[in-house]
């Protein structure tokens, strides 16, 4: 490790993110960890991956130290690994999280509360429906319900992990929340080394992006199921003596049984729609960072969605910076709308590395989006994906079978 270089190591966690970054520059070493979580295990369970990371972060005195832990957002597949008690022994200098995690920010608290309430309501509602289904279909699975259940489960707060991020680790780390609201703080030098410059692109504090973080449809949903037993149709609109025991012949002939079935099933899609809206909401809180070290520009967008990207691409100065990207951690496991077409076609140059931490989930055939990976592939050969280790082109990428894929990026002085 003599020459200046950056090591980016993408651990294979299955469906999730865990990126270990080691920067050797100007005689110092800066270690960073971007997320650590999974909702579907890879070749090794997340517990083992955590051990690997902690091992890799060991200094010569055998104490594990990480300078900065970045938790881009609180989705399970990005934080579940932090629930492990092994982290208590790791010395951390700083923990970076999006501003929506700030316990002292009332706007942040409102968004967090809203999101967790919605996640809890969705989860319990789906659970109830699953139980009802299982009661009448003991051997069959309902793929629709399972899909929604998985989507909703990702958003349910992982309390142990969040607690570790906010209060755990050794070395009494400083917790920092970005963006701070003060524009000057959005570009700063990383701790340990002045040579590492950090740009914060998101999450935006723009009104529209915030609205996406706390969707009104979610509030509506919460209200619908707040204190009302949805199984019994929610609420009684009229007193019992208005209810008709038999269908009134004057009008009932106009409503066929298929019509009736359709009316009865209004709201059946609501869970799926809300789960997706919540998914987008939490993804929207993703911390989007650009690290500038020497001539290298590393972009880590977390799972940032269109709102954050749009704000970044519309700012002419930020767009200039994005054009310099030399390493791109492909957003949201390679999904379609976490990497805008505009970014791929008109912003990215041709000289960059890209890595995607992803894995196939049956109910989500569109993740990763093959067309996106193809489009990136047209611009550069240097792409690696965690679920296809063997295809990672050497010598750019080194593979440790079933453990990680890493790239060592030299820093030209």
């Amino acid at each position: 490790m003599g020459a200046d270089s950056i090591l980016v190591r993408m651990y294979d966690v299955g469906f999730g993110d865990c990126f270990f970054v080691k920067i050797n520059v100007a005689g110092a070493t800066c270690k960073m960890l971007f997320d650590c979580g999974s909702i579907k295990a890879g070749p090794r369970p997340i517990g083992e991956v955590v051990k690997d990371v902690i091992e890799a972060a060991k200094d010569t005195d055998l104490t594990s130290r990480i300078d900065v832990i970045v938790a881009t957002h609180r989705h399970r597949d990005h934080v579940s690994g932090f629930a492990s008690p092994l982290w208590n022994a790791v010395e951390v200098k700083e923990v970076w999280m999006p501003w929506t995690e700030n316990p002292d920010d009332s706007a942040a608290r409102k968004i967090r509360d809203s999101q967790s309430k919605l996640a809890a309501a969705l989860a319990s509602n789906i659970q109830r429906k699953t139980a009802l289904w299982a009661a009448s279909n003991p051997t069959q699975e309902n793929p629709g319900l399972t899909a929604v259940a998985n989507l909703a489960a990702n958003a349910v707060s992982n309390e142990a992990a969040m607690q570790a991020l906010h209060e755990g680790f050794a070395g009494n780390p400083v917790r920092r929340f970005f963006p701070t609201g003060n524009r000057k703080d959005d570009i700063f030098e990383a701790p340990v080394s002045k040579a590492v410059l950090v740009h914060v692109f998101g999450p935006s504090r723009d009104e529209k992006v915030i609205r996406d973080m706390d969707p009104p449809a979610g509030q509506s949903y919460l209200q619908l199921y707040d204190g009302n037993d949805p199984a019994s149709g929610g609420t009684e609109p009229f007193r019992e003596d208005w209810w008709m025991d038999a269908d009134p012949p004057e009008v009932s002939y106009l409503l066929s049984s298929s019509d009736r079935a359709r009316v009865n099933s209004i709201g059946a899609d609501l869970d799926f729609n809300l789960a997706a809206a919540l998914d987008k909401a939490v993804n929207g809180t993703s911390l989007m960072l650009m690290l500038r070290i020497g001539g290298q520009w590393l972009l880590f967008p977390g799972d940032a969605q269109w709102g954050t990207w749009q704000a970044a691409l519309e700012n002419p100065q930020w767009k200039q910076l994005l054009m310099k990207t030399t390493f791109y951690k492909i957003g949201h496991h390679g999904s379609h709308n976490a990497t805008p077409v505009d970014f791929v076609e008109h912003t990215l140059g041709n000289d960059f590395l890209a890595m995607a931490s992803t894995s196939h989930v049956d109910q989500w055939p569109s993740i990763p989006k093959e067309e996106l990976l193809l489009a990136l592939g047209k611009k550069t050969e240097k792409i690696a994906r965690s679920d296809k280790q063997m295809e990672a082109p050497a010598p750019t990428f080194r593979v440790a079978k079933d453990q990680y894929i890493e790239a060592e990026i030299p820093l030209v002085p």
């Binding site: 509506s220 209810w243 008709m244 009134p248 409503l255 269109w306 055939p365």
Partner: protein, 617 residues
């Protein structure tokens, strides 16, 4: 014949009075909240079930019915309808029927013909006042129904409702009128729900809000009250320009659902893509035009009342003054609303933009009232300009430039010679005049031939033309493809989408008769690329009563036989549809989670008004 048996004695009355809540039930017995409106008197069965609309009180959340009301019950007739109450489902049925019919009549009058909702499977549009548990209401094309939800007010932030009280969307005049408008627009222009550009769904939403809002101005008592309160400055008061207050408050939003007022900014039209947000720009533009015209019309009243100073005296305004101002406010509102509805016939059959709508507004109004006496047209153009809404392919925003192009007089007219055509016109005229009498089959002939047979696939089976007529029109379109900018690609058929005569009475008393024909074409080779929507083009023809074509309003499909300019236009349309698909994809939270089948049809899902109204985007 004995006088007692003659028509003078036995003819039913023309109007039926019915009571409704004019604003929101939560305002209780506030003056003007419980009012009586009247609708055309038609034969009604229990439900109420009329000729065009039927109320079916089925509760999908509980799989049960509530007793249908008989509005011809002497006890109910005697009172002019049941008294407004939240607890009696029969009043809800009455109110939904009354407001729906009121809205429909506005359209009839403005469009100069009777709109009906007959389809292959259904004879009438169904209204279901308590269809489901939810804070939502929507028109569903497949069910051919408007479904109203009910829910509980927010416990913590109920506004003026009781915490946790039942809130019925069917008791909101605004929501009923809004949804009814969706149904009518869908009936008049069935391709306007296919989101081919960022204005399409926004137009549906905005236009529905416009109708609901302007109908407020026909409620005399509220109007007078609000004029008094705001001292004639209607912009400063809320009841008239806000939509669905109870709904907004009940869902904890702390304010009404939407409002007609805005800060006009050209930037918003460039950046607002969510349909309600974008639709609000249209609403605000039309309201701007309304206020400007209204202010101009009451200027002389104010001058008289203030002796020329323009300063109204302190305290209450004189009731006579309030009445006169109210009359002006009401008349202007009706005029602008009629202008907005009339414009429909001057729209292309597909791919609407706000710019198209402005041109249609200007042209339709110009036809009827060539000299813009109160400056309504000018106000409209100015209001659109302020908000950055510019039609494509026009040289300037001068009125003359905004009119649709006149057709070349050399084009052969619609072949009217023949019995069918005259019969069609006559029955339509008679029907228009007699909407209030109970449904009568105009002889076996009319009902038997008024549905085109399915052996003629080009004709849209839901439109009211005979198959003979459809064939004639199809042949006519084929012959004149060149002039009508229709593609001559042999694989793309010409669909005849409607032919109707329109009767309008100009302010000078003159009767104007026009013929409107619509053709559409569908190119299915782009469907996968466009997320499940085919590429459509079409042309609306406006002709005078003798068949001479006056206007050709076209949205061309890319095809070889077009002029270069039209080719560019067609390509631009396709590009715009692609861009819009990309835009909605970026914003769609469900995009990554669709099944492969659903993914191919994702644009069809975005046509769904239920999820649009739920605010899920």
């Amino acid at each position: 014949m004995k006088r007692a048996l003659s028509e003078y004695v036995t003819a039913p009355p023309a109007r039926r009075p019915l009571k409704i809540f004019s604003t929101d039930p939560m305002l209780g017995r506030t003056a003007g909240n419980r009012i009586t409106i009247d609708v055309a008197n038609e034969g009604l069965n229990k439900g109420p079930a009329g000729r065009r609309v039927v109320v079916i009180d089925y509760d999908g959340g509980h799989s049960r019915f509530y007793p249908p009301v008989d509005l011809n019950d002497p006890a109910i007739l005697m009172q002019g309808g049941l008294d407004p109450t939240e607890s009696d489902p029969r009043f809800h049925q009455q109110m939904v029927y009354a407001v729906a019919m009121r809205t429909l009549e506005n359209f009839d009058r403005a469009l100069g013909r009777v709109i009906d909702f007959r389809k292959k499977e259904y004879q009438q549009l169904r209204l279901m006042p308590h269809a489901f548990y939810g804070a939502n209401a929507f028109y569903d094309r497949d069910l051919h129904a408007i479904l109203f939800g009910y829910f509980r007010a927010d416990r913590n932030d109920p506004g003026q409702n009781l915490p946790g009280q039942n809130v019925f969307t069917c008791l909101s005049h605004d929501i009923i009128a809004h949804e009814m408008t969706h149904a009518v627009v869908d009936r008049l222009k069935r391709y306007f729900m296919e989101p081919t550009n960022e204005d399409v769904l926004a137009f549906h939403e905005g236009f529905s809000d416009i109708v609901a809002l302007f109908q407020h101005f026909s409620f005399q008592e509220i109007l007078r009250q609000q004029i008094q309160k705001s001292r004639s400055d209607l912009r400063s008061n809320t009841l008239l320009v806000e939509l669905a207050r109870q709904f907004g408050y009940a869902t904890g939003a702390g304010k009404a659902l939407r409002s007609a007022l805005d800060k006009p900014e050209a930037k918003l039209y460039k950046t607002a893509y969510e349909p309600h947000e974008r639709g609000s720009i249209l609403v605000a533009a039309v309201f701007d035009a309304y206020f400007a015209t209204y202010q101009r019309r009451i200027r002389d009243l104010i001058r008289i009342a203030t002796g020329g100073t323009g300063e109204l005296p302190k305290g209450d305004l004189h009731p006579d003054l309030v009445n006169r101002i109210a009359a002006e406010a009401s008349a202007t509102a009706q005029q602008i609303l009629t202008m907005c509805m009339r414009a429909f016939d001057y729209l292309p059959p597909v791919d609407i933009t706000f710019g198209d709508y402005l041109r249609a507004l200007v042209t339709a109004d110009y036809e009827l009232v060539p000299n813009d006496e109160y400056g309504e047209r000018g106000a409209m153009i100015e209001a659109f300009r302020l908000r950055g809404i510019y039609p494509e392919n026009v040289a300037s925003l001068a009125e003359e430039s905004l009119l649709w192009e006149n057709a070349d007089p050399g084009i052969s007219g619609i072949p009217l010679a023949g019995q069918d055509m005259l019969q069609e016109l006559f029955f339509a005229a008679a029907d228009f005049g007699n909407v209030s009498t109970p449904w009568v089959n105009w002889g076996q002939q009319s009902s038997a031939t008024s549905r085109p047979t399915s052996s003629f696939p080009e004709a849209d089976a839901d439109m009211e033309i005979t198959s003979t007529m459809a064939q004639i029109l199809h042949g006519y379109a084929q012959q004149n493809r060149q002039y009508f900018h229709l593609s001559d690609d042999p694989g793309i058929k010409i669909e005849v989408h409607g032919f109707h005569p329109v009767f309008r009475v100009a302010p000078n008393g003159q009767l104007l008769i026009e013929l409107v024909v619509q053709f559409a074409q569908t190119n299915r080779s782009f469907t996968t690329e466009l997320g499940g929507l085919p590429l459509r083009g079409g042309t609306t023809l406006i002709a005078s009563a003798d068949g001479q074509i006056r206007y050709i309003i076209s949205k061309p499909l890319p095809s070889a036989n077009l002029s270069p300019a039209k080719k560019r236009e067609a390509e631009a349309r396709l590009d715009r549809q692609r861009t819009y698909l990309r835009l909605t994809d970026m914003a769609d939270p469900k995009l990554s989670y669709y099944s492969p089948q659903d993914l191919l049809n994702r644009m069809r899902f975005r046509m769904n008004l239920a999820s649009l109204h739920q605010g899920i985007s």
